[in-house]
Each structure stands twice: as C-alpha cells, then as structure tokens.
Symmetry: D3
Subunit: 321 residues, 6 copies
C-alpha cells in the first residue's frame, strides 16, 4: 500500500528531491488502517550536556530519504507490502516546560495507540520515553522494556533532588508509575564511567536484568538476542534504543558518547534477531546532529528505524500466515 505513490515518485525524481518525510512515506494524521506511525519528538530539554537532539527527527528523516530503499535484503521482502506506515509528523513540545511537554507528547501519541497502531518515535533526548511509555502503557501496560543504552537511566534525581524528570531518570519514573514491568525487562550495553545512582546493582534492585557491554560482547549477537527473548517471554514489549549504546566512533552525534560501545554489525545482529517479539511501541533517541560527523549517526539511526519497521512487518506477516 502507498506503493504506487512512492514508486511513481521514484520514476521521475532523484532521491534528493521532495518534501522530507521518513523514507518519503506519506505525511498524514489520518490513522485509518495504519499499522505503524513514525513520529518525531523534537524535545531536548531533558538535561543532556550536549543539547541539540531536537534536531534528531529532522536529520533521521533526511538521511532516510536519501539512502534507504524499500526492500530488506536479508529478510527478503518489503515490509511496506505487509504494513501500512505513515509519517505522523512531530509532536508539539515547549522547550522551556518539561512536564507540560510530556503531557503534549502523551496526548499527541495516544491516538496512534488507540487506533491500534505502533508508535515508532524518533527523539529527542531520552526523557521523551516517559511520556511515550505513558501513551503506550495506558493500553498495553505494564510493558516489558527492552532497553539498549550505555546508561540505565534510573537515577532517582539530580541537583540534590531538584530535578526528577530528565533523560537520566526516565526508567525509574516509569517503574514508579507502573508503566513497565522490570521483572520482564532487560537493559543491554551499559558502558562508560558512572556515578552513584547509575550502578548496575541499582537497576537490579528495581528488578531489571542488566547486560553490560562487556557481557554483550562476550555473548555475541545470537546469545544476547536469546537472552532478550527469554526475559521477555510473550509479553507486550516497548523497545527503547538510545543511540549512545554504539561506540562514539560510529555514533558521535549523541548527548553522552561512550568509548567501547557496540559496533554496527553487533547491533544489527542483535536487533534482527528480535523478530517475533510483540512490540507495542518503539523509540530511537539521543541522535544529536549538532555533534555528528558526516551524518554517520543519522544514517545509522535511519537504518535501525527501517530494521524496527521490518521487525513489525515480520510479526504481522507471521501472525497472518
């Protein structure tokens, strides 16, 4: 579906042309029949040192338009033949007001969930996962969280208790609010230096399973993915992918880069093996084009989003088979 529109364009237009949407998908708020809505959340007031993730959705869209083709080479099919996917545009946000922005985000994404579609959200900083989880969990929660990140983001508060909502506290808040079920959740790729409040044990105390980057490297993609499947079981999953789980040399355009992270083939190797999970929501966050080099982070991110769409297509295809 939407095929004719896209192919007609490709016949007479170079890929550099046209108004930019994710993979040149139709930009609409009409959710009738939609399976997946790609939605931007251009919010970055959630505490990052390096600000600028508000430009993430635009950058990912731009690179997706230039470099992504519609057929998945290794899975051997076109996900858009199975799924109806649209570009829903961006949610409203107010940079000066975090909690108001959260309400705006939840309110804007909720109709996607209510329409039975999966919101595939492009951050923005990681703080946006909280309002996104609220929108998804309202219908499907508490959710199993599959969380790729160099950091666990379960700090209780910053600045002596003054700040409780930002990109470092998001999953503690999500647990407190009952949006996710830690006992079916897993955090992968933890890396870099830490301070108190960021220790693996603190996630474990909340009930999460934690696979630091050294363990992921040791297990390899196949056994890592198996660990995820085992942890999740058949639960409804929210996948949150912080691009900083990748090594700084492959994803420099992010807010809190770390050394020793995942490389592309590892990440693809794990992600592709998540096929079969029952995703209720997905986000990819912390792409910050202001610090990127040659758009490599946005290109990587755009490819990952296409992989996520493919995972959703496989699930739908196999259910209908």
């Amino acid at each position: 579906m939407e095929k004719s529109q896209i192919q007609a364009a490709s016949e007479l237009q170079s890929r550099a042309a046209g108004i930019t949407t994710f993979m040149k998908l139709p930009h609409t708020r009409d959710l009738a029949g939609v399976d997946v809505a790609v939605v931007g959340v251009p919010f970055d007031s959630g505490g990052a040192i390096r600000v600028g993730a508000r430009f993430g959705p635009g950058a990912i869209r731009e690179q997706s338009k230039l470099y992504l083709r519609r057929f998945h080479r290794t899975f051997g099919f076109t996900p858009f033949d199975v799924l109806k996917v649209v570009d829903y545009g961006d949610t409203p946000v107010i940079p000066e007001l975090i909690e108001t922005s959260f309400d705006l985000i939840t309110g804007d994404v909720a109709p996607i969930v209510e329409a039975g579609a999966v919101p595939l959200s492009l951050g923005g900083d990681h703080a946006v996962s909280l309002p996104l989880l609220r929108a998804v969990a309202r219908r499907h929660g508490p959710l199993s969280l599959v969380h790729f990140d160099s950091h666990q983001d379960i700090v209780d508060s910053y600045y002596g208790g003054r700040v409780r909502y930002n990109n470092g506290t998001v999953f503690r808040r999500a647990v407190e609010e009952g949006l996710i079920d830690p006992s079916r959740s897993i955090q992968l790729g933890m890396n870099g230096t830490v301070f108190p409040g960021m220790f693996p044990q603190e996630s474990e105390a909340l009930g999460f399973q934690v696979l630091p980057v050294e363990r992921v490297a040791e297990l390899g993609p196949e056994r890592t993915a198996a660990a995820v499947h085992e942890r999740v079981g058949g639960a409804k999953v929210y996948l949150s992918f912080d691009i900083d789980v990748m090594d700084v040399s492959v994803a420099p355009g992010t807010g809190a880069p770390e050394v020793g992270g995942l490389f592309p083939r590892e990440a693809l190797g794990i992600v592709r093996r998540l096929a079969g999970l029952d995703f209720a929501g997905i986000d990819l966050v912390e792409v910050n084009p202001l610090f990127d080099a040659a758009n490599m982070t946005s290109i990587l991110a755009a490819n990952l989003v296409f992989e996520f769409i493919t995972l959703l297509a496989i699930r739908k295809r196999d259910q209908h088979a």
Copy 2:
C-alpha cells in the same frame, strides 16, 4: 489565509518541530486561489564546478522554518494577509539528463503559471532558469529580465561547442528562444575574473544593460533600483537572483564564489526598492549547502525569498487599493 493553521502550530510547538516546508507554509499541489507557489528545483547537473545545489531547496526551507517570522518589520505588514502562498514541493528532475529535466521542470511549473500564480523557484543551479522561463514566458513572455549575478551567463557554449545547456549559457538560450526581451532587461552585480564569452560587451551585444558590481557600489541601492525601474518600465518581469552576486564572505555556499560582491545591506536596499514591479516569475539559484559555513548562505537566501514574497504582496495590495 492559512493563518489559523500556522498560528495554532506556533502556539504549541517550538519552531524546530514539524515537517519542513518553506516558512511552514502548507505543502499542496492544489492551486485554487493561490497567488504564489514556492517550488524547489533540486537540479545541479548544469555544469558547476562545485556540485551540490540540488540540496539548495531543502536547506533554504530548513532555515526559513527556523528563523523567519511572518511580519515584515520595515514594510509594516504581513504579506500572508494579502497573498495566499503555498509550498508546491519540488519538481521532478533526472540528474543524468539535462534536457529531459528541463522538460520535466517546465511541465511541472506550467500549471502554476496557468493558474495565475507566480512561481517562486528555489534552485538548483542557474541552468534551471531556462525551463522556468519557458514555463512563465509561454503565458507572459517575452519577459523583462532583472538578473542579479556575478556572471552574465550568456556564454554561447562550452567544451568547443559540445555543451549548449548549462548554468553559464542560460540567458543566451533564453534570448534565442524569445523568452526574454533584452531591451527591457538588466544584469546587475557582475564581478570576478572572466574568460571570453563572459565579457560585459557580449551581453550588451545581445541587447542587455549591464551594471557591474563596481557601478552598483558607486550608484548605491537607491539609484541602482531606479535604474532597474527605468529599464523595465511597466513590463512583466522575471527576477533571477543568483546568490553568487553576494561577496564570498557572506554567501560562501555557492558554485562560483567571487570576491568583492554585494553585502547584505546593499542587496536588501536594492531588492526592497523593486516594489512596484510586475513580477511574473522569480527564482533564487545557486545556493549550495555543501560549501556553506554555518548555514549563512541559506539563511540569507531564505530572507531574500521572504523579501520577494513581500514584493509580490505589495504589488497585490497596492493594485487592490
């Protein structure tokens, strides 16, 4: 008109958000009631040394979205209260095929002209002015050309006659095709080194008036603009603005930069004084973001496009008054 849609957005969204169109204007191909259609022509196979102008329309749209507000401070009104302006998207182009692309461009823009609207085109390299002129002249030609540029672009051919269509031959072709009337046309800002085929006398031999940059500087904006009005009289005008008429230090992001060109206040001073001319078509070409610094060229270009819209609004307002 369209006001409600735009203002509602501004109330709950930061300017970095949303799908990018020129000044967040509605993106549509519906020309009913439209006065001005902003249209991108992402074509750069017209011979530039520095390729990349295909990314010009996207860059201008992006900067327009971030930094332009809707009210013209010095003229004291909102052009969008007078004019209905839309973002028509990009024309089809095929980078490998110049003449086929010209036909595609003319064919895509012609409906704008036929609907009685003014096409305000964003290049692309200067070669695109030829198919644009064809579309406009079909209804309004032969046109008076008002041409800002460091170069006259009236070379007969390149590579020993092998290449007759590119960004250096465009206005000779336009004269030959009867699209413009040189006796009512003027070229302003000629600058930099030349080779045979680019001499001022060669433009004059075709019937153009030429004001090199030294003469423009000497006259100042007021008398320069007066010279344009005098030359044009009441004719239908096609305004072609090559951003390389600006000094390389203010517009580095272009294909053939020159030293000693116009500075912003000079350019604004002339352009604003063109109010009253009867524009049938306008283009702004040769913005090349691959060579820009800190987006300064795209920001300048976006502001100029807003000035052009304002000129069109003044004309309409004053005619109706």
Copy 3:
C-alpha cells in the same frame, strides 16, 4: 595589577598553553579590590531554537586567551593598569529549571555587585539578563538599559501564555520588576522579520527608545553613540549586548541570526564612543559556538568584551584624574 603573574607566563609560555580563563586573568572568587569580575552564565534553556549558548563562555574565554593582547591600541593604554579584573568562573545553573537557575545566577553575581565591582557577564542566552539585572538593580536600580540586539525581547509570553521567562521576554519582565527605567533606556539595531509582540511600537509603549538597524546605519556610529549618551544622561547603565545584532555573516554562531545587521567597524565605532557612561553591569549574550564558523563569532565577542573592559577603565581613570 596582576601584571607580574601574567607577564611571567608570557615570557616562557606560548599563548596556546595554560588553563583557560578570560585573557588568562586570575580565576578567583576573592573580590577584595576587584573592579570588574568576568563571569560566565552557561545557561541556554531560555527558549532559543538553536540551543548551545551554554558553550558560549568557554568559547569566548578560549579565543580571548589566544588572540587578545593587553594594550588597547586606539585608546593608548592598558586597561589592566587601571582596573583589577578577575575571572570569577561560571555561575551555577540547572538546565531543566529556569526560575531556579535565575535565583542561582542572581545569588552568585550579587556578591560582585555588593563588593562594588562591575559584573561583566558572558551568556548564555538572553534570558540570563533578567537574573543579572536583578543582582545589579538591587543596589543600583532602576537602571538605564543600553541594549544592542536584532530583537527587542519584550514579548509578553510564548505558547499562549504558558512561558513567561525566556530569551524573548526578558526586558518586559525587567520593566515589570522595576529593574530598568525605560525612559532612560534605548534599544539599538533591531533587524529581521518579526511577529506580533516584537514590534518597535510595543517597546515604545513600554517607554523605550528604539533605533532599528536602518536608523543606526543612517546615523553612523558617531551620531548613534551621541543618541545613547543623550538618552542615558548621567544614569547608572546596564549594557546588554546580544551578538545577534551583528550580521549573520560576521556572527553566525548565535541563536537567532539576522541578515543586514551591524558590521564590525560599525559596532566598534559605536561601542568605543560609549566611553564616559557609568556602567553598573554589562553582559554579552547569545554566542553559540555550536553554530559558529571558524570561531569568528567568539573572536568578535572576545574583542567586544575587551572593549567593554576598556570603557570601564576609561571611566575609572578619568574619574581619578
């Protein structure tokens, strides 16, 4: 004073070496005998589209260290022979909490004012002028404001009244709080497109005098400076210099760049003629290195800060003469 320390360094060290402070001034919080304290305010949550001004103080310090020498060539003396100047470091700020940050800023700068010194603050976005004015006005207010900017920053609120504190509302708040006396205040350099709430008349309704950039250009530096002196009279002055008053081609590294702004010689020509004013506080804001080209904005800013120090030195020298 401090001379021995600085000269000793210069004898055996290249200028690229050493911990970075403004012009390699001593970094201290000891205010005894201090005339001027350079202080960074690395806060940028005040609503800019382009975030990143939090990196402004660091960038200005870095460039000041590399390229500034201690003697003022045109005034013919070394301001540091007259004034004791220190680098006070940065104020605390919490990016997520605007109003809390304001209190932290005011609280950190107040001791400078109380010690009888002038705070010379490096932004940060323009929102920081409000807490800085609070600190200065507590002792010296209501102040005469001399305000260089492309924008008047007197918007009442954004997002339908939801946001009252950011970089666009700062001087309306300052008037409401009685920190400045509009009848002795002047805004210079207004430029670019606007929306309702930004019109010159709205500043004038508050009591300000407004000289848009076209008027500043017409008057020239000498008469512009005379207009400032006349407006201010002998009042205590707060000078707020938003770098976006400069043309985008000379100061691209800023949050809301405009075309047609001041050029360096104009700015220096006006600023140097402000000698004699009785400055109680000064800030230079909106330098954003994330969008700069070749550090040109930071180099310009560092030079302006040195000019401001020189103005303070002239005042002190002439009073003691």
Copy 4:
C-alpha cells in the same frame, strides 16, 4: 626507479610541501617503461544522490602525499623498487555529457593499456568503471571482475528506462558489451537496503558469484580471498573497489553509505591475500570528500591504492624470480 628524485625531496622538504601527485610520484604522460599509471577520473554525473566524487582523485592524492611511506611493512619490500609507477594526471571529462565523457575516458586510458601498463584509476563515481573496462578489455578482455561494493550495480535502467548509463548500471552494461566474463567474476560485500533490480539473484542470473557482507564476515578474510582465487583462476582480472563496501563509520565520504560494511582490518586482510592475481586494470571509486569526516575516507583510500600497487609489484617480482 624515480627513487633519486623522491629521496632527494624527502631529504630537504617536509611532506606537506610540493605539487601534489599520488605519493609524490612523477607526473608525466611519458609511458616508456611504465608498469603502473595512476590516473584520476574526476567524473560524478553518474547518478549519485550525493554528488562530489569529482573531488575524489585530488583528495586521495593529497592524503597519499602526506601519510604514505614507500616501504610495505608487512610484505617487507618497496614496490617502487620493482615497478615503475607514474601519476598520469586526470582524464578529460565533461560533467554535462555522460557518454561523451565515457569516450574521453576510454580514449585517454587506452594508451596506458597499449603501452603494457596497468591503469590504476581513482574515481569519480562508479559509472567510470565502464569506460575504464572498455579501455582494458579492448586488449585483455573479456575480463574476470573482482568487485568490492555494497551494491552490485547491475540495475538495468533508472527513471523508467530513461537512464541506462550511471553508477548503478555499470556492470550490466559491461556484461552486455562483453567486457567481463561473469562466470569468472565475483561480487563481494553486498550490504544495505535494496530495491528491485538490485537483488543478489539478479547478479546471479547474469552469471556472477555474489558474497554478501554477512557471508564475507562469516568466512573471514582468508577464506574470502580463497573464494576469489578459486573463482578467478588464472584469468586476467579487473579489480573494482567501491569504497562504500566499507562501513559508513570508517568511510563516510561516499555517495551511498551503508551500515554494517567492512572494517579496515577485514578489507586489508582480504586485499593483501589477492596477491598472485593477474591484474590488468584496477579502480577505486566513489570517494567523495564533500561528505568525508577528517579525511578518514581519503586516507583509507590512499592506503588501499598503495596496497593495490604492492599487489602489482608482488606479481611482477614473483614472475621475474
């Protein structure tokens, strides 16, 4: 040979100095006694989305001059002691005319082949391999193709049949023209998303062997190289290396970057094991400095070209032994 000239330079000159040729080799069109001619083909009108590969030859030369030394550390000898290598300069090209440019390229490179030397060509986009193959196959063809790339470049046509010559169709044309023998040819490293016309099976239908990147990774360098040797047998080989076979994080400066590609040690591991093949022509294409980061792509490319020269030297050395 040429040693004295090069060593004399190295004694009194820093490596940053001098007119830039590949590794400071002599720039000449005199082919007497020449074994290898490095030749630039600065053509990029072959359809890439990201234009700019015309600047590839210059960038590779520049980096080769700065960072390459003449002795191969792991093979333990100086290839220039065995081979006479020259920098032949660039072929003529006319950006606006693809097929004319092809003729110019073939005509300019043919004398190298006729003189018994190997052309080692620096692209330009991948379209240039067609005229290069024509020049080489005229004497040595049909050739065995060893093709490193993320894409097979065997699309039949673009834009509904309108475009048959560009960087995506090059090897289908080469098969049709009888320049290469698919049954002795192999394509390695296929990666990324695809559209119809790019499927592995479509290459296989033409007779090629295809090793996608997943298979190359699985085999490792040693077995991958063995597969190449087996496929090629003793045939005359044309090696075409598209830099986009590398992961986008190690070679961002290219026209169609992909995620999950080869890393440097893999590429070196395979290439070095191609020693013994009988190369009649080699090209390295799609280096685009306009999108590079810190020249990393050009540095990688320059090192690969040195490896290719070393392969040629090993062949000659071992034949003479």
Copy 5:
C-alpha cells in the same frame, strides 16, 4: 579527597559549566600529598606533518569535563577515593625552540617526580616524551617502556642528519641517554607504511620487543597484556600511549593516522589488564583536535586517561591492602 569540592559543584552546576580542568580536578601547583599530577604539554613543533597537537591538552580536558564520571564501572570503585589527583596545568614551551622547550618541560615536571607523584602528561606531539622521560628517569630510571603506537619512533635523524630531536626519533634518543632499558621494554601496535629507519628490526636491534598490530590482533587483549607483564617484570614502567595506534576511523584527530589500527574495545581490553604494573610516569600524546571529527579522538583520549588513573589507583589500593 577533594571529594567535597567536586560533589558540591555537581549538585548545583551543569557539567558544561566552570573553568575547565581535567575532570574538574583542582588546578594547583601545590604537590603536598599528591599522588598523580595531570599535566599538559602543549608542544607540537616536533616534526608532525599535521600540526596542532598543541591544542591536545585543552581538548582532552574539555571532553573529560563534559563526559567523564568519577566511578569506574568495571573495576567497581572510585579511583579518587584512593588517590589524590590534581590538574597541574601546562608546562611552559616555546614553539620555535625545541631543545629549550625540552629543558622547560623537564624542569617543570621534575618537581612532580621529586614530590613522589606520578606525572600523567597530555601531549603535544610525541617529541615531548623525551623531556618527560628525562624528568622521570632522573629518579626512577632506566625505565621499562611500554609503548603503544603505530610507529616505533626510533628513527636516527631526519633531513640528512639535520634533525635529531622530533617526534620520530624520541625513543632512540631515550635509549642513547640511558633513560629506558630496552631489554625490559615493549612496543605494541606498529602499523602502516614505513621508510628505512622505521623497520621493526631496527627497534629490535636497539633491544626492544616489538608486537606489530597484526600480532596484537592475533593474540587478543588478554595474551597481549600478558606479554607486556612478562616483558616488564617488576620494573618501574613508563607508559607512552600514542593515540595513532588506534585506527584512523576511531581516532582521526592525530598527526600520522594509519588504517588497520586498534579499535576501542581492544585498547581498553589491553590497558585494563596492565593493572599491577608499577608506573612511574605516563603520557598520552598526538591528540590533534584540528583534525578531529566530532571530538571523537579527544573523548577516547579522555577515557584512556581515566583508565590510566584507575591503574594507578589499583596499584596503590592493592599495595596498602
């Protein structure tokens, strides 16, 4: 120790704020009780093609301030709880005078060694290791050298004997001066092209053990580290880490980049296994921010420096246990 000062800052300040020192450590020349002094050596006249390493210490400090947290996740403790670490600032240097600069560097670092602390030096180009070794060896020498680098840096002289002191001759000079004991020294990671004077055998002739990058890759981190321990035995160690041992794609910001070097996880894997060695001095050199992409080289370097501090802390902790 120093904890209160650092934690207080972290409570009310964003990490972007404040005067920049390494990890916001106190900047002091008071060595009482100090275990480790981080010291910058901003000197780059040692012969690099790509100059600019003088900006290395500043860049590493800046990134350490933004992205490093104080707790080592994998070793499970805070090195600053065991060690007193200060930022000693930069040594004096005179770019025009290499040998004078060497004396200044040795003289400035000697007091650190005499106070019983370990100098952890940030280059600057590799030439600075010679004066640093002089300062350390005066008390602890001859030292065991553990040297990570793509190059052995044991060339005898450049420019026909005219230049004996630069970044390519440093360890031959160190052997000649008796500062290091080659029989207990090891060089790891040699990579790239070479010229005579750079051959592994030439290092071996001086008595060094050499592990080229291919051997390091083959051994893996664990056995590589074991080889270092075996070679060093219980000797006092000087660790010199040239960032160019890393692949150009992960550390482009350096003077002599090579393809095929170490990747982050390999480097971390080896370095962390050096725990237990008795380090008398450490340097990290050749970070050149002028050629970096997105600060990735400086971020990597800052992390490595933190690893080095941790190694020193482990040694002290275990000795006291």
Copy 6:
C-alpha cells in the same frame, strides 16, 4: 604564451580536473623567459598560535584552479598575454629548523630573482618574508616595503630575548639587515589589540610610515593608494600582504585574526590602484586553511594573487608601450 596548453585543457576538461598548480599554470623550474614565478613556502614554525599555514600554498592553488579565469574584467586584458608566469612549486623547508629553513628558502628563490623574474610567494607564516627579502634584496635592495597587515611585525624578540626569528619580528630583522629602506616604506591596516613592542610609534622609530586601519578606512582606497605611491616614489618595491589585514569575518583562516579589518572591496580598491609601482618581489602570507570556513580565505587569497599578477602585467605592458 602557454596559452595553447591552457586553452586546450579548458576545452575538454572540467575545471575540477588535473594536477593542481596555481591557475593550472605549467609547473616547471625552467626559468627561461619567465616574468613571474609563483612559489609556495609551506613553512609555519614562525611562532603563530594557530599553526597550519604550511597548508596555505596548497589551498590557494586549489581554489585558484577552481575559480579563477584568465581575463581581468576591470582592467580589460589577460595578464598572461603580457607575462610568462609559471608555478615554480614549493621551496624546501624543515619545520624543526627555522634558520636552516630560511637559508633553504633564500637559496631556492634566489635563482628566480637572478633570472630577472619576480618571485610571487605564497606563505606560510609571515616569518618567510625575511628569507624572501634576502633573496630579492641581494639584487634589488634595499627595497621599499609596502606592507598590508593587522600587525607591524617589528617586535624585537619574544620569550625574554630567546626568540629573534619568527613571524612577529620579521621586519625589524629586515631593517637591521639592510634589506628594506624604512624611509620609503609604509605599513597599512594595523588593527587589534597590542602589547609593548607592537606600538605604531615603534615602527615609526624605525623609520616606517604607519597607516592604522582606522586611517585607511577614513582615507578610502583612492587616497590610501595615493599615500603609498607618494611614499614609495620610483623605488623598487617589495609587497608583503598578510591576509590578517582583512576582517576576521572575511578571512577567518589565518593565524592572528582581528576584528574591524579591511573588507574585500576596500582591499581590491587599494591593491588595484597600486598599478605602476615597480615590484621586485611580492608575497601573500598567513593563509591557514585549518581555520578557514568554506575556503573563503583561500578564495580571497587566490583572487589577490591574480590581482598581483595583473599589476605586474600592467607595469610590463605600459613600459613596452
């Protein structure tokens, strides 16, 4: 002369192609009949804070190749029809050895002077003017110096007398060595902050005339040029143009940028009016591409070099007339 060779190239080659020399002039050391030899001096160890001017000659050549055409539009002729101009390549230099490099430079340039040609040298930092003056003055000296610069470069020594040869002392040394006659020399454009040893009076004490930038601005190009003609009389002239005389916003790529400097039209206006002077040598120095933005400094520099060639052509043409 050389015309056929150059025109043939232009007929079949895009300007991006070919080995890079200044304006694609022939690269030769054969001085027979040569009027002007463009020569690079890639030396930057002369003390600049921002190193990298060694890359200046390469950058100027590259931009000259891309953007300069052979006919001078305002003077109305082709200087190459009057003059034989060659690209002589670069002089040898040894970065580590300033005084040895000076001897190498003088020795390499002297044959140009002896052959009766004018050396037109591309720096490198300003220190290179001393060895260049030595080469020229040996035959034509003492010379009248026409010196454009933000700085007078007559400091006696740096680092407490330790450094007497660098880019800040060059003209004091030249006076001491009798290479220039200060009483017929003039320094124009002095700008920015200073320290003792850089005061205008110190130049005047040596016998120079000094026109600071404020005076140049006040006089305008015509009267400034007249002042130069008056000062010089009929003497043999050495023109030294430091690109930092331009405002940092138009020439950011330089070692000691200043705010308030010349703008392009001013510089061109003065330079073009120097026609008639009897130039024995010319240099353009301090272009540093490592700090440039969008090549704007190199493009400006290349244009200035073409203007200098034109001045030489006018002199020869008028003498022969």
